[in-house]
Amino acid sequence: MAFYLLYIAVAVALFGFMALFALFAVYAERKIAGFVQDRLGPMETGRYGSLQTFADILKLIQKEFITPSAADKILFAAAPVIIFTAVFLGFAVMPWAPGLAPAATNLGLFYVIAIISVDAIGLLMAGWGSNNKFSLLGSMRAVAQIVSYEIPAGIALISAVMIAQTLNLQEMTLNQGIQAETAPLFLGFLDVSKTGGLLAWHVFQAPHLLLAYVIFFIASLAECNRAPFDIPEAESELVGGFHTEYGGLRFAFIFLAEYAMMFLVAMIGVVVFLGGWNTPLPNIGSLKLAEWTTGPVWGVCWTLGKTLLIVGVQIWIRWTLPRLRADQLMTLCWKILTPMAFLCMAISGIWRVWAMG
């Protein structure tokens, strides 16, 4: 019985974290957007507008459920649930610290990638169920984009998995630091199992994974419908894309899922390529920085810190780069990212056989 209670407690804690993160990220997004454009962003609600997103969510919660009369009632109501659940379930296998992961399954990475794909069905349901041309157009674009970009993202991840030799995210993280069972090799030849830190991360174990990480990062932007790949939402041309007809709590859940997705893909990148909860500080001689900064609390701090940094970069990119056209989007995916990802995978194979023995 206590067993199930723990499960529920973990789920509630994760949900709470997601909600808090979404509130914080929306505020950060608006502030960064403001600063980048020489504005101030929200300033009126609370000190420096810090209570703005709490006020927003309070407003959304109070609103009435409005279903358009022409909408497909069941699909319309079910879509936000599916979109949110898909992202929420993704968090189930993400490692936070040494020995701290909701579920350290052996198929962790495969599971995350699979469960994120369910998101596309939710988006299509939202667009189709709304019975609105903008929504349908948006969701068609979303599905085309997500399905396409899963290929370079997946292959980039596979090239890291070939180096790591595991799909278990907890083990994968473990092998990128000082607690590794098989010695991590910096650039393929230097044993850094005693030094750890930055040097043991996957991107530095095999330098072509840096390219793989860039590919994954670009593809992950497209997967969570972030600018410059936000053509499914495209506020300026499609009103709001697939969520045009949504309001109140349903919209809040779609929005929450979107921001949670940002965090999730950033976290996958961090775990697979950037050492997860491992510290970036290496041991230098008698200065055992890596050993001092490894532990459950440090682990959570590093995971959060790295992931928030990547989320920050996502926001920064959103307010810099203009939106791609649909055909440019597909060109980038199929003609550039996919071949590059295949190249990375090929190098990984060679690396595995010759460099790592």
């Binding site: 960064i32 403001g34 600063f35 980048v36 020489d38 101030l40 920064w316 810099t320 071949p339």
Partner: protein, 186 residues
């Protein structure tokens, strides 16, 4: 392909650098707020937002915002109302049997302004009324912040006559007319 990719990265990095510079530049606020200063457009760094009710942009004394009427100088010629493209000025005049007085520039006043209403909600701030006014009694002021809760508050009444005054002056004019008629017949 590699050339295109490289180009994409270089241009993206350039753009990201620019936005990052602005992101960190936002710690400062723009000092020069007065558009009349010569170097106004040279200052490109820092936050431009003016947090309005708490801080205001400097405006010239001769700024052309809301209308004001010096009713003592008005000869009720109705030219402003005729010039107004949006018909936001409504004037009602009452004739007077004799000269009422003089305006500050010496024009003779022969009409009472029973009603001189300007609907600022309609006004488009073209300033044509101020151009045609012979006594320069209708002017544009530097007042621009006149938010009200009711639309009718935006109709400014400049007439200073009380209703009984208006009634008295009207009767006076009808009596004068009647007397003139009687004198003609008689």
């Amino acid at each position: 392909m590699f050339k295109t990719v490289l180009h994409a990265f270089v241009t993206a990095a350039k753009g990201l650098g620019l936005t990052l510079a602005h992101l960190f530049g936002a710690r400062r606020s723009r000092k020069t707020r007065d558009v009349r200063q010569a170097d106004y457009f040279e200052k490109q760094e820092g936050v431009t937002t003016v947090q309005f009710p708490r801080e205001k942009m400097p405006i010239p004394e001769v700024a052309r915002y809301q209308l004001d009427v010096e009713i003592d100088d008005c000869i009720v010629c109705d030219l402003c109302a005729k010039a107004c493209p949006v018909d936001c000025i409504t004037i009602e005049s009452i004739k007077s049997p004799e000269v009422i007085g003089k305006t500050s520039d010496g024009s003779v006043k022969r009409l009472y302004a029973a009603k001189f209403d300007i609907d600022m909600a309609k006004c488009m701030y073209c300033g044509l009324c101020t151009v045609v006014c012979p006594t320069e009694c209708i002017t544009m002021t530097d007042q621009y912040d006149r938010s009200t809760v009711s639309l009718s508050d935006l109709t400014y009444s400049f007439s200073e006559m009380a209703p009984e005054d208006i009634e008295a002056k009207k009767q006076e004019w009808t009596r004068f007319q009647a007397e003139k008629e009687a004198a003609k017949r008689g």
